[in-house]
Symmetry: C2
Subunit: 334 residues, 2 copies
C-alpha cells in the first residue's frame, strides 16, 4: 500500500508496520527502541530546558528544506536560544488520509538526518491519521529537551541601555522562499529558505562572551516582532539602522513586488541577540567564522528611554516606528 489510510492510525497491525518499516528504520536508537508507553532517559545533570512547537508549513517541501528538517531545526534552535545543549526530541505526526507513504518516508529521513546533525536523539513518537480534508497533508509537533550546564539566564529583561543588537545574517529568506512557491510566481525565483541548525553557532557565541543578554530566532513575525518582545521585556526602547541590516537583493526586490517588509518576514536559520557594548564586536567576529553567521552585523542598540518602542533609522535619514504586527502576513509559514 502506497498511501496512508485511517488504519495506519488505529494502533493495530498497520500502525505497528508503519512504526517498524519507517520510523524505526530512520529513528533507530536504544531509547526509542524500548517500545514502551514512555521512554526512559538517563539522569540529566544541570537545569533542564523544554520547548514545544507544531509545524504546519505549506508547502511541505521547499527550496532549502522540508517540514521534517524545519521541525527539528525549529525546536533545536529554541533550546539553543535559552543557552541549553539540545539532547532529545519527541515527534508527533498528524497525517491526512491519502498522504503518500513515499513522501512520509522522505520527511522521516530528513528528520533523522537533521537530528543526527544536531546531535539529538528522537526518543518518543506518535502518529495520528485523520480523514481526508481534516488536515492538509501532514503536521508535525516536536518537543525538545536540553540541559543548561552553565550558570546562565538569558532573557530580554537583562538588556541595558548601550547594549548592542546583533543579527546573524540576511533577513526574509525563508518567508520569501515559501511565499514565492505559494504564489506560483511566473518569473524565476531562486531564493532558498535559510532553514538551518543554529546550536553550534550559539555555543560559540556563549563561549566567546559572558555578556550576551538574550538570544532569539526571529521566526513568525520576523525581526520586528522579536525586537518588540525584547523592548517589552527590558522596558527600554530599541533603535536599529536600516543600512546595517543585511537583506539579499533578490529578497528585497521580491518584497517590493509583493508589498512586504523584510523586517516582518519569518526566518528559520537566524539569531538576533543583545550583547554588551564592550563584547559586541568580538561576538560578531566569532559569528562570521561560522557559515551560519557569516553575514553577522551589529544593527542597533538599546536606548535609555523606557517607552518600549522599536524604531528604524532609514537609509534616507528618517525614522520609522516598527510596531508589533497585528494581522497575518502569510499563514502557515512554519
Amino acid at each position: 500500500m502506497s498511501i496512508i489510510t485511517l488504519g495506519h492510525g488505529s494502533g493495530g497491525k498497520l500502525t505497528h508496520n508503519l512504526i517498524e518499516d519507517i520510523f524505526y528504520k530512520y529513528f533507530d536508537n536504544d531509547i526509542l527502541l524500548q517500545k514502551n508507553d514512555s521512554s526512559i532517559l538517563p539522569k540529566l545533570e544541570g537545569k533542564i530546558a523544554v520547548t514545544t512547537d507544531s509545524f504546519v508549513i505549506n508547502p511541505i517541501f521547499f527550496n532549502g528544506g522540508d517540514i521534517g528538517k524545519l521541525s527539528v531545526c525549529g525546536t533545536v534552535n529554541d533550546l539553543a536560544m535559552s543557552g541549553a545543549k539540545p539532547l532529545y526530541i519527541t515527534v508527533g505526526f498528524i497525517i491526512e488520509e491519502g498522504f503518500e507513504i513515499e513522501n512520509l518516508e522522505k520527511i522521516v529521513e530528513s528528520i533523522s538526518i537533521t537530528a543526527k546533525n544536531a546531535n539529538v536523539k528522537i526518543v518518543a513518537g506518535d502518529t495520528k491519521v485523520v480523514e481526508k480534508g481534516s488536515a492538509d497533508k501532514i503536521y508535525i509537533n516536536t518537543t525538545g529537551i536540553g540541559v543548561i550546564d552553565k550558570d546562565i539566564y538569558l532573557s530580554g529583561e537583562n538588556a541595558k541601555p548601550g547594549d548592542k543588537i546583533i543579527i546573524s545574517g540576511s533577513l526574509g529568506d525563508h518567508g520569501v522562499c515559501i511565499m514565492s512557491k505559494r504564489k506560483n510566481l511566473e518569473f524565476d525565483v531562486s531564493v532558498k529558505s535559510d532553514c538551518n541548525l543554529l546550536n553550534e553557532l550559539i555555543e560559540e557565541i556563549l563561549y566567546t562572551s559572558n555578556n550576551v543578554k538574550v538570544l532569539r530566532d526571529p521566526t513568525r513575525g520576523g525581526l520586528a516582532t522579536t525586537l518588540n518582545e525584547f523592548a517589552s521585556q527590558s522596558k527600554r526602547s530599541i533603535s536599529i539602522n536600516e543600512e546595517d541590516i543585511p537583506v539579499k537583493d533578490e529578497v528585497r526586490s521580491m518584497c517590493e513586488i509583493l508589498g512586504l517588509d523584510p523586517l516582518y518576514i519569518a526566518n528559520e536559520g537566524k539569531v538576533v541577540l543583545i550583547a554588551s557594548k564592550e563584547d559586541a564586536q568580538r561576538v560578531v567576529e566569532v559569528m562570521r567564522k561560522n557559515p551560519m553567521g557569516k553575514d553577522a552585523q551589529i544593527i542597533g542598540e538599546v536606548l535609555e528611554d523606557d517607552k518600549k518602542i522599536v524604531s528604524l533609522k532609514t537609509d534616507i535619514g528618517g525614522t520609522r516606528l516598527l510596531s508589533m504586527p497585528s494581522g497575518e502576513l502569510l499563514p502557515r509559514i512554519c
Copy 2:
C-alpha cells in the same frame, strides 16, 4: 473578536493577546511565565521518562470529558505506566480558523483543571492556526516529562509463565461513548467515557507490589491490542477468560447493535497489568479501594508456550483467538 483568525497564529499582537488573555489566565505558573523560547525546569533527580501524544478526537466535547481533559489524562497516564511520577507537560495547539474562542477557553480551562488534579505543571506551549478546512476544529499535542525515583523497569519482556493479567475496570466505555455521539443514535445513550487520570492508582499499585511486570493503558486498539503487545514482548502466549472481563450492560448491548467487540475498543481511564501469581490478588484488593480501580479483576494469565498468541476462553466454553486488529474500528477516537 469571538473566533480564531489566522492572525492569532501570526506570532504578532493577536497571538500575544491570545496568550495573555487565555493561556496565561489558566496556565499560570512561574515556569511558563518565564516567556522565553524554552522554559527552564529545576534539576530533576532520578531517571527521566518522556512521552508524546497528539489528540484529534471527534467530537471534542463528550460525556465524561473533552479534548482538553483527554490530552492531559493520556499523557499523564502514559508517564505513570512506566513507573514515573508525572511532573511537567507541554501543550501544542493546532486550531482551525473560525473556531470559537469560547470553546477554546473551555478546553484550556479543562486542561488547567486536569493538570492541577494530576499535580503536573504546564511548562511550554505553542499555537498554530490553519485555514478553514485544513483541520477539524482543534488538535492538541501534549508531551510529558516525569521522574522515576525507584529502581524499576516495567516492560512486557518481564512477564513470566504463571503471571496474572489484571484489568482495572470495565472495557469499552470511552469508545462506545464517542461512537454513540458520532452515529447520532436515536435511542438514549448515557454511556460516559472513562477518560480519567490513573497516576494515583498506579502509584498505589507499585507501592503494594515489587512484582508488577508491566502496566499499560489499553487505548487505541483496546485490550486485545495491548495483550498482543505483551505477548510479543514477553515471547509467551496469553489466555484470558471472557466471564471475568467487566463490560457494562449498556456497552455490551451497544456493541451488539453496532457489531463491535468491546475487547478492541479504546479506553481512556483503564490500566491492564501483569503481576506475579503471588502478588496478583493483593494488587487487585488495593486497586478496588481506589475509585479508578473499583471493578479491578484478574482476567487471565501468561502461558508457558512461546507462540505469542492471545486467546479468549468464551462464556460458552470455547476458545477464540484475539489477533492484532489490522483495520480501523473508529477513526479519531483519541
